[in-house]
């Protein structure tokens, strides 16, 4: 096995996330590439959730897969929940009551372990999960010193008894795991790679939050909404270290107006929300368009309409973000494909917003923000921030008409000039005007065409994966990146390539060359209407074929591979 896929499945509140965290942490420190992602219900207790952990000895296995090599059912409903993903090869490790045999196609692969009894012998049911952690560690040959020091770090604050019980539970689990290996019930043959030990692990939310820190974010106002809240929480934890003003707004309308007010006064601000929250912000978005105040929006998509599926994933809001806000003005939209892109694109978003005085979006989704990635580094050596703020003098005009459309941006209190921004159509000084013959068209050109031209010049190019002499081109954007990439690598087709867009609007003209080369262009999207396909049609006058998924789950590598083989 080059790679092992393990799934934990149980109720909310059973501690699956704790197991995930412990296992991925210790496996990484042992030299394995790890990636994990969760699908969960919108509730705090009960229900059925599952977490996929992929352990490999080579890089970039950060996509969702259907295949389950080893499954730990933690509740009686777990196997039914995963019925369609269990195969005869799946090894199921669990206790009697959690193994509904009608969902086990191969009874030889059932390994019963009396987790509760063992846990009770140690000190209580609470140690059940740590016994399964121990099994993991044995299967992957994690050294005892790594597990002991990791558990100590994690549990020492809870007192010695609890710590010792956890260590004991982990040892009992290891014994069971070693017995499984000895009995030949399963065999894992992965190479450890020492360089991985120094990798960092982070989820998509953290990557976006850290990207904003790298850009000098110092103000965030938001109203909590799944799945976007992780960014707000992480920044709140780090606020004191990095000098960030945190404001939990009374509503999303307030949040966006505060963000714009903060930028006006010279801060670097962001909001984080999801589609429904953004719906409340669209008037504010339009305000930033006419005020020409920079603004950064992080929108973590989830399926709608309405409340939709709050904890699930989708790419349904591209057209909304693209068209949201009344009136006409320029904007830019980025869609990161993984943690690394999330970090660098977020940092870039602030500088772009500042440079052209436009709203800029980071469009992520639940799958991206809640996935845990491990990567070698986030290299800060080339991080550059430029503040496009000018000291004003008495003659300062906020909306001075210039050749390229960008007026020098002053802020109140810096210089002797006055900075007037106005939601009404305005003159160069920022005062209300109804001069429809001269000023109005000039201001529209400035805010829309001139800025769009500049944004296109700064276009972040898409990444081409696969052969350059392709005849079929798959097009994706955002978090579909990993699944399509991995599927393509596994496929036998030599005529298919994949073009991953990280900037989805505006597109540069020369990108059409990639599309022209292909006999067939297919968009792969997590929505029902091929929303990026529509952007392609609009910009390039090409109507691509579609491969769409819109049930709230991310694409699995297997289904994309199957699709590629059949094209």
């Amino acid at each position: 096995m080059k790679e092992v896929s393990i799934v934990l499945c149980g109720e909310a509140g059973q501690g699956i996330a704790t197991v995930e965290q412990l296992v991925t942490g210790m496996l990484k420190l042992s030299g394995y590439h790890v990636y994990s992602t969760s699908e969960f219900m919108s509730r705090i207790r009960g229900g059925t959730n599952s977490t996929l952990i992929r352990i490999s000895d080579e890089k970039s296995k950060s996509a969702f897969i259907d295949r389950i090599d080893i499954l730990f059912p933690l509740s009686s409903k777990a196997l039914k929940h995963l019925e369609h993903r269990i195969s005869p090869e799946t090894i199921i490790i669990g206790e009697e009551g959690n193994i509904a045999e009608e969902y086990c196609p191969n009874r030889a692969n059932i390994i019963k372990v009396d987790f509760t009894k063992i846990a009770n012998e140690i000190g209580g049911k609470i140690y059940t999960n740590i016994v399964s952690v121990g099994i993991f560690l044995a299967l992957f040959g994690v050294e005892e010193n790594i597990s002991k020091s990791y558990l100590t770090k994690r549990f020492s604050s809870k007192g010695d008894t609890i710590l010792q019980n956890n260590i004991k539970a982990c040892q009992r689990g290891s014994e069971i795991g070693n017995q499984m290996l000895e009995d030949g019930k399963l065999k894992i043959d992965l190479q450890k790679d020492d360089s991985v030990k120094n990798y960092l692990t982070l989820n998509g939310s953290q990557a976006i939050a850290m990207g904003s820190i790298a850009a000098g974010l110092n103000f965030i106002s938001s109203y909590p909404m799944s799945p976007s809240t992780g960014v707000l929480v992480f920044l709140s934890q780090k606020a004191e270290d990095f000098g960030i003003i945190i404001d939990q707004a009374e509503d999303e309308i307030a949040a966006v107006n505060k963000g714009i007010g903060a930028w006006y006064a010279g801060a670097r601000a962001m909001i984080t929300t999801s589609g429904g929250g953004f719906a409340l912000m669209t008037e504010g978005l339009s305000l930033s368009g006419i005020l020409e105040t920079p603004m950064v929006f992080h929108i973590a998509q989830r399926p709608g309409p309405g409340t939709g599926l709050p904890t699930r994933t989708g790419q349904e809001d591209l057209q909304f973000v693209l068209n949201g806000g009344h009136g006409e003005f320029a904007r830019a939209i980025f869609a990161p494909g993984n943690a690394e892109e999330a970090f660098f694109l977020t940092q870039h978003a602030f500088n772009l917003a500042d440079k052209y005085q436009v709203p800029v979006f980071i469009l992520s989704d639940q799958f991206l923000v809640d996935s845990h990635y491990s990567l070698p580094d986030l290299d800060l050596t080339n991080i550059k921030n430029t503040k496009y703020i000018e000291k004003t003098d008495e003659n300062y005009k906020r909306y001075l008409l210039t050749e390229n459309g960008i007026s020098p941006r002053g802020i109140p209190g810096y210089g002797s000039g006055l900075v007037n921004v106005d939601s009404d159509e305005h003159d160069e000084e920022g005062h209300i005007t109804e001069d429809v013959h001269d000023l109005r068209p000039k201001m529209v050109d400035k805010r829309l065409y001139k800025k769009l031209k500049l944004l296109k010049e700064d276009f972040v190019k898409p990444e081409l994966i696969g052969p350059t002499d392709y005849s079929i081109l798959l097009i994706g954007w955002g978090s579909t990146y990993s699944a399509v990439k991995e599927a393509l690598e596994l496929s036998t087709r030599k005529d298919v390539a994949f073009l991953h867009f990280k900037q989805v609007y505006p597109l540069s003209e020369d990108t059409i060359d990639y599309l022209k080369k292909a006999k067939k262009v297919v968009v792969v999207e997590n929505n029902a209407t091929a929303q990026f396909g529509k952007v392609i049609t609009l910009e390039y006058n090409i109507k691509p074929d579609q491969f769409l998924k819109y049930n709230g789950m991310p694409f699995s590598v297997e289904e994309v591979k199957e699709f590629i083989e059949k094209i």
Partner: protein, 287 residues
């Protein structure tokens, strides 16, 4: 008093109706700013939409004329991003209490150090005469054809109920006394709210200049603005409307609590990304 540093050029086209109370409010705000020696470049006037919300355009200073109802939200952020600025919100009753009601409530609770001057003429002027949240019961308009059936919004009682920092009401029919209260409000540390009663000469034929002279009285000199129970009682009185400072409750402001200014007083625009600290954070995630 020479208030000319706040004057816009003579040719500025003012969009208010002749006889509007806004002219007097603009005049005394300029006087208060002059007497408090606040420099135009260190002041931000924020407003929303409506006739009152145009006030910042007629006063030479930094202007944030944003969305209907959202001025308080934007103003609070301006102050947080740069506490060295004086920040004043000036907007109407619709903007402050209708569209902006939630921001009004939460900024009373948040207590940023800004001043909120609400022009309260009990009617919607710019949309031509519909009821406002403060319109009196029975007030007939083209929309409320049988007269208003809502209870009028009582901003003072609400603010006092939420333990606001500074709550006052003035009537622009008395410029001298209004000037004193507005001056106090601007120099007060915390969220200082002033409800400014004013007539709308075009659309409110009930609450006229004369009405505002005859239906008000001043809180007595012996009145104690620190007594919240009494303040609430006065704010909810039926009949003649009391004027003056109802309630004062100085307490730490939103900015006082911000860790970003604990050791470093620089406004945010002077700060840079802390990349060495970020490198440490990245390295801590290798464990």
């Amino acid at each position: 008093m020479d208030t000319s540093i706040y004057d816009m050029p003579h040719e500025t086209d003012v969009a208010w109706c002749p006889g509007c109370g806004n002219f007097s409010i603009l005049k005394i705000v300029k006087q208060a700013l002059t007497e408090l020696d606040i420099k135009p470049e260190k002041l931000v006037m924020a407003s929303g939409i409506g006739q009152a919300a145009k006030t910042p355009h007629y006063l030479k200073t930094n202007v944030f004329n944003g969305l209907h109802g959202r001025a308080v939200a934007a103003a609070m952020a301006v102050k947080a991003a740069n506490p060295e600025l004086t920040v004043i919100v000036e907007s109407g009753d619709g903007c402050s209490f209708g569209e902006g009601g939630n921001h009004f409530i939460h900024n009373i609770l948040r207590n940023p150090n800004i001043t909120h001057l609400a022009h309260d003429n009990m009617v919607y002027g710019l949309t031509k005469g519909q009821a406002s949240p403060t319109s009196q019961f029975g007030f007939i308009t083209p929309v409320q054809v049988q007269g208003v059936t809502n209870e009028p919004f009582n901003p003072l009682a609400l603010a006092i109920a939420l333990d606001a920092a500074f709550v006052a009401r003035v009537s622009i029919a008395d410029q001298e006394k209004s000037f004193e209260v507005i001056k106090q409000a601007i120099s007060f540390k915390g969220y200082s709210f002033v409800d400014i009663l004013q007539p709308c000469v075009s659309f409110n034929k009930i609450n006229t200049w004369k009405w505002f002279r005859e239906n008000v009285y001043y809180l007595e000199e012996s009145y104690d603005p620190k007594n919240r129970t009494e303040a609430f009682k006065r704010a909810t009185e039926k009949g003649k409307l009391p004027l003056g400072v109802f309630y004062k409750n100085e307490k730490p402001t939103f900015e006082d609590y911000l860790p970003v200014y604990k050791t470093n007083k620089d406004p945010l625009f002077k700060r840079e990304a802390n990349l060495p600290q970020l490198q440490k954070l990245i390295d801590s995630m290798r464990q």
